[in-house]
Symmetry: none
Subunit: 198 residues, 4 copies
Amino acid sequence: MSPRTAKQFKEIRENKSFLILNAALEMFANNGYHNTSISKIAKHANISKGLLYNYFENKEDLLIKIIDRGIEKLFQSFDTNSDGILTNEEFEFFIHENFRIIKENIPYWKLYFSMFFQPEVLSIMKDKLFMKINNLLNTIEKYYKNKGVKNPAMEARMYGAFLDGISMNYIMDPENFPLEDVKKYIIDKFCIIDNKKS
Amino acid sequence: MSPRTAKQFKEIRENKSFLILNAALEMFANNGYHNTSISKIAKHANISKGLLYNYFENKEDLLIKIIDRGIEKLFQSFDTNSDGILTNEEFEFFIHENFRIIKENIPYWKLYFSMFFQPEVLSIMKDKLFMKINNLLNTIEKYYKNKGVKNPAMEARMYGAFLDGISMNYIMDPENFPLEDVKKYIIDKFCIIDNKKS
Amino acid sequence: MSPRTAKQFKEIRENKSFLILNAALEMFANNGYHNTSISKIAKHANISKGLLYNYFENKEDLLIKIIDRGIEKLFQSFDTNSDGILTNEEFEFFIHENFRIIKENIPYWKLYFSMFFQPEVLSIMKDKLFMKINNLLNTIEKYYKNKGVKNPAMEARMYGAFLDGISMNYIMDPENFPLEDVKKYIIDKFCIIDNKKS
Amino acid sequence: MSPRTAKQFKEIRENKSFLILNAALEMFANNGYHNTSISKIAKHANISKGLLYNYFENKEDLLIKIIDRGIEKLFQSFDTNSDGILTNEEFEFFIHENFRIIKENIPYWKLYFSMFFQPEVLSIMKDKLFMKINNLLNTIEKYYKNKGVKNPAMEARMYGAFLDGISMNYIMDPENFPLEDVKKYIIDKFCIIDNKKS
DNA sequence: CATGAATGAGGTTTCATTCAT
DNA sequence: AATGAATGAAACCTCATTCAT
């Protein structure tokens, strides 16, 4: 297919749905889901309350669509090659990707993490999300297996936990986070240099 | 009959207060702060709504008291010897302590982590909490410095992030978490065996 | 009868009922009836809520007793000679009495006036109060009739209204009220000097 | 159908706002501010509780808007010529105005007077109100000064108090109040006929 | 497609009153 | 006579959602 024209892009950008999602995301992330009223979202998106209900069924639907959109985007980056086996370069690339994606949309990731601790929200997304996460962990596990690590499942899990913890810390205060040094640290700690194996 | 003594009243208050805090904690942790109404808490604690307000100023006060109680308890465990320098034994002991405390009160830790992503809730506790956390990280930093690690501040920070990530994963599904293996993994990865230094 | 002994006075003064009435009066007058809770009154009177209900049936009863006590006191001053005809000296004396009584218990008079505009409260006291007031006005009317004033009923009524208005203004800001000058003004305006008649 | 125009919306708001203010005024005046619940007002105005909060921020805001509207209206009548000096005709005219305005909206004036004795309510309006009242009294004072009265400030103050007292009496029972006779009485007592001066 | 007035259920909070001790 | 824990009705207020236009 031919690439989208500038006009098409403009249309997409101007799409009300997109605007609303952004407005809602920002407010959910900064003020919390329950603390953000539909009224405020509509005002922030410069539309009326009524119109919002033309685009989204209800408040919860809005949240789901936001999370959906984010997950989609995240796993796109990691879906390439997901069946094959990671090289060290790919492993390192994924780390960079991980933080690039977070940096790109910090509010989203605030919301994403908060979700994990709000059971009523989590239950909506749980299945879809856990499938995706398991996929990723399996890829990492294969990587470790291939490198001859003793307990690759554990290693993958610990890697995942580490990334969770670091991402959380990053999100809490992105300005003062030594991002580049941390990336190096992760690579040093979790990427298996081949002669290290011996 | 003669009226109750001051001591009797005090006892009643302490017991009831304890009951309410537990009921509220459980519900806040499982359903989220905003999703839990005072009505539901009162019902869960088998008291009237009105009585709850006899014990706590308002919903926020209830949350603060819960978090306070938890923080107090947590940092008690780590306050011993906080000025001195950790030995390896102490380092390992603290890891065991960390998980023992979490295991003891999983709902509390759910609430604790969820707090970090609910800005309007976090702001209530931020100062008190961050001071305590920094204290802990400084102790860890000294440990690494003393062991001759190159960048002890970074190492301490990464250790903290790792513990955060792992604790989070533990809380999400405590039943299926290989706790003992994980502890060993952490010790292996973050405890500096002295001849390793050279 | 012999005058009350110091001991008897002390008993009266210590009477709980008296204390409670005073505490309640003060708070009703300063903060409004609906804005004053039984709890606060009990605290202010240094007793428990429960005990208050030993002395007074309920909150409204407390109010009624307060107003009652005040009216009793007020009209005591004016009841002497109420059947006879006022001399100018008595007329002037009553003006002095009026302000002396107000000065003695400003909170009470704040409450008294506020009552007139709270129908649900007024209705409780209306009959008793209006009878007393009419008595007084009749005495004044007779005074004017005897002095040969043309429309003594109207004159008495206007005198009453004037005293209401001035008392109201006095109560609002007693400190800055030129009490003595005002008394003279009233006497000059409403007391009939006999040779003025001609 | 096409959506309502901005003008239509404005009209709806103004009409409904007016309705609510009237309903609230009536109930505040007849039952007292604290004795009137938002629920009752809404019912009286034939709207839902929620809608009331669409129009007024809260109960206090509703009260303020009512009082504001009344003060605005009252002082409009007296603002003409306020810098110049009153003639006798104007002085008399103002007396007629005073009672005309009260007669027009008795509930409002009940509320107005009741306010003075509800401290927590008064404090809301005090400053604005006292400024307006002082303005008026100054005009009266100038009138007396110009007529050569000895103590014009006192005379103005007494005039004000008298009008307060009479207005209060009028409001309490408008049906049986000899309005016209009273007006004459006031003019006779407080309007300075020029040859009286000598 | 678009508006915001309108609803009503449900949330937080207060407080007069009762009652076991 | 005295306490304050406990209740429950009712207050204020919010907000997701609907709907006439």
